[in-house]
Amino acid sequence: MELYLNTIALAAPGLLGWLHSIPILTGLTSYQVTDMPAFSPKLLPPNLRRRTTQTIKLALQVAQEATEQSTLPIQQLSTVFASDAGNTEVIDNICHTLSLPNRPVSPTYFHNSVHNAPAGYWAIASQSTLPSLSISAYDASFAAGLLEASTLAVVEKIPVLLVCYDNPFPAPLAKHRDFYAPFAVALLFTPTQQIESGTKIILELKEGGKDTQMTEDTLERLRISNPAARSLPFLQKIAQKVTGNVIIPYLEDSKLWIKVHNT
């Protein structure tokens, strides 16, 4: 499967914004872990923004940044939101509330609990009525998101915004599923080459291959802890502007090979 990557947005501790992250990913400057700011994606009207959560804002922030760099109108983008756990703080809140007398679940928390809540808010903000998918594949959520976005772009012949994110669970769930740090990446794909486009990628599922790793220890720890951060070696290859293969873990018996054609 062939398609074109147009723009990238990134948000993780020490990796805030794509342009800022390029010298870190290429090794030109050292990686420093920093606190994450409180995101406030402006595309979402304030009355709606107030009703969202940190996880939803994290996802919408990168979605907004990726589309701001593109000339493609946002209402003409379909979307894929890929995440293992979705709205982690809402799940914790609801499960906690359900352990209290009378189980006073908040209606706002409940509608934010659906896995496609970020997709729903994004559709309202962007006014795109195009198809939107919200998927999960545990640790393979980035590779699965990439396959979902690629098949959507190539088969339906439409531009696709892929947003892959996972935000750490509060205790006590964090003990059972540790994402280490928040991570969100947005990638805007088109089935054919756009004027602004730089990078052709070719995807192939194979049974063999060794996962491409990060040499920097903290980035490698992030890569293996947060499903969205499985994208890091791919992002590094794009940042290095070199042509070559990246191997991303998919399901237990297969790998996603990504051939990056930098020009």
């Binding site: 499967m1 709606l48 293992d84 756990a85 979705g86 799940i91 609801i94 499960c95 906690h96 359900l98 352990s99 189980r103 006073p104 679940v105 908040s106 209606p107 409940f110 509608h111 609990s113 659906v114 896995h115 496609n116 809540a117 997709a119 729903g120 808010y121 559709a123 309202i124 962007s126 795109s128 009525t129 195009l130 198809p131 939107s132 998918l133 919200s134 998927i135 999960s136 594949a137 545990y138 393979a140 959520s141 699965a144 396959l147 979902e148 690629s150 098949t151 959507l152 190539v154 088969v155 339906e156 205790a171 006590p172 003990k175 059972h176 599923r177 599922l205 399901l251 018996d253 297969s254």
Partner: protein, 391 residues
């Protein structure tokens, strides 16, 4: 688009285990809702509960209500044996698994929170996130149970989840990532959805009455449904997915567009993909949840596309709203309508709301049925319409 052959399917819900139970109940007009008796829930409502799950332990880490229901579903209608043949024919790596669920095994986590350590707040040691609550756990369970090794993904777009899997599977097959697909969905009763929908005041105290002047909300049900999709060969005879249509409302996070904008787009895309006029559709299986706003919105959309003469009904009066399993449940109901040439009544609907104009069936009709549209619309404005017909 090229139709996909639906070469096998199975369904388990409150009407019983396997296809025959659903078919019999639909044709006889026997609903399966009961006053809520789930766990210690004190809400005054009706539910579509599947019997026997409490005793159906799975002896590994996957054990939770959702996977017990999934396993019960996979054991019916020779489905697992049929998939073995599919696996032999295409190879385990060439068969994909695409499952829809809205809450996966969250009941397992709800119970763990009720049993936290009073001092440390820790969840019990036996708590498993990966194999129960995680969204992918269902797909993982089904893929392992069926010994498949192809691409796999969980779709979770609330009540359209297990309709969207048909679109996703079609695209993977078209892109050459697999040759056949197991699509389906499982959602099971849990406190999150019962108390969550209750907090939104969308739960009915009575058996749900879609399109009725007195409709007052949904009943929550649970179900497991699975189907095999293959590229249709000239000799294949049976039911096919003719097309799908997907859209987003881009309107409100939990309320459908009042004029049915997203629903219209989804249905029209399905018709466009099949290159078919709306007049060819014999019957519309509505999303038809029974809330005031959902039915009003869908009525606007359906009459915009089909006018006021095309027979429509909702089957939520039999099963309740099975949420992430509603898409597969109603796709299979639609397949049964085509195979057995009948259109079910809208069970429990007595007096159709005079402000609604779709042609709602108040009695079951037996007549040739060739093309059915099945609608699934979810929270967040996620819409999916499936068009089924004969090969």
């Amino acid at each position: 688009m090229t139709p996909l052959f639906i070469s096998a399917y199975t369904l388990t819900n409150n009407l019983g285990q396997g296809i025959k139970a659903s078919l019999y109940a639909l044709q006889q007009g026997n609903g399966g809702l009961r006053a809520c008796d789930f766990e210690d829930v004190t809400l005054e409502t009706w539910i579509g509960r599947v019997d026997g799950l409490e005793e159906k332990t799975i002896h590994n880490a996957f054990d939770c209500r959702n996977h017990r229901l999934a396993k019960m579903g996979l054991e019916q209608d020779n489905f697992t044996e049929t998939v073995s043949d599919i696996r032999m024919r295409y190879g385990a790596h060439r068969v994909g698994v695409f499952m829809g669920t809205s809450t996966s095994g969250i009941l397992h986590t709800e119970k763990a929170y009720q049993n936290r350590d009073p001092v440390t707040g820790a969840l019990p040691h036996h708590f498993q996130y990966r194999y129960t609550h995680s969204n992918y756990a269902l797909t993982d369970f089904v893929r392992q149970y069926l010994a498949l090794k192809g691409p796999a993904v969980t779709h979770s777009t609330a009540c359209s989840s297990s309709a969207k899997v048909f679109a996703s599977a079609y695209r993977y097959i078209q892109a050459g990532l697999c040759d056949a697909a197991i699509v389906g969905g499982v959602d099971s009763l849990c406190l999150t959805t019962l108390y969550g929908f209750n907090s939104l005041e969308l739960i009915s105290k009575d058996p749900c009455q879609a399109w009725d002047i007195n409709r007052s909300g949904i009943n929550i049900g649970e179900a497991a449904g699975f189907a095999v999709l293959e590229i249709a060969k000239p000799e294949d005879k049976g039911i096919a997915l003719l097309a799908y249509g997907e859209s987003s409302d881009a309107y409100h996070i939990s309320t459908p567009h009042p004029m049915g904008k997203g629903a219209i787009l989804a249905m029209q895309h399905a018709l466009d993909k099949a290159k078919m006029p709306a007049s060819k559709v014999d019957y519309v299986n509505l999303h038809g949840t029974g809330t005031r706003s959902n039915d009003a919105s869908e009525d606007k959309a359906v009459t915009h596309i089909f006018g006021t003469q095309t027979p429509c009904s909702t089957t939520k009066g039999w099963t309740g709203h099975t949420l992430g399993a509603a898409g597969i449940t109603e796709a299979i109901f639609s397949a049964l309508c085509i195979k057995h040439n009948f259109m079910p009544q809208s069970l429990n609907t007595q007096k159709v709301d005079p402000t609604l104009n779709a042609h709602i069936l108040l009695e079951t009709h037996r007549q040739p049925v060739n093309i059915v549209m099945s609608n699934s619309f979810g929270f967040g404005g996620s819409n999916c319409s499936l068009l089924l017909g004969r090969l």
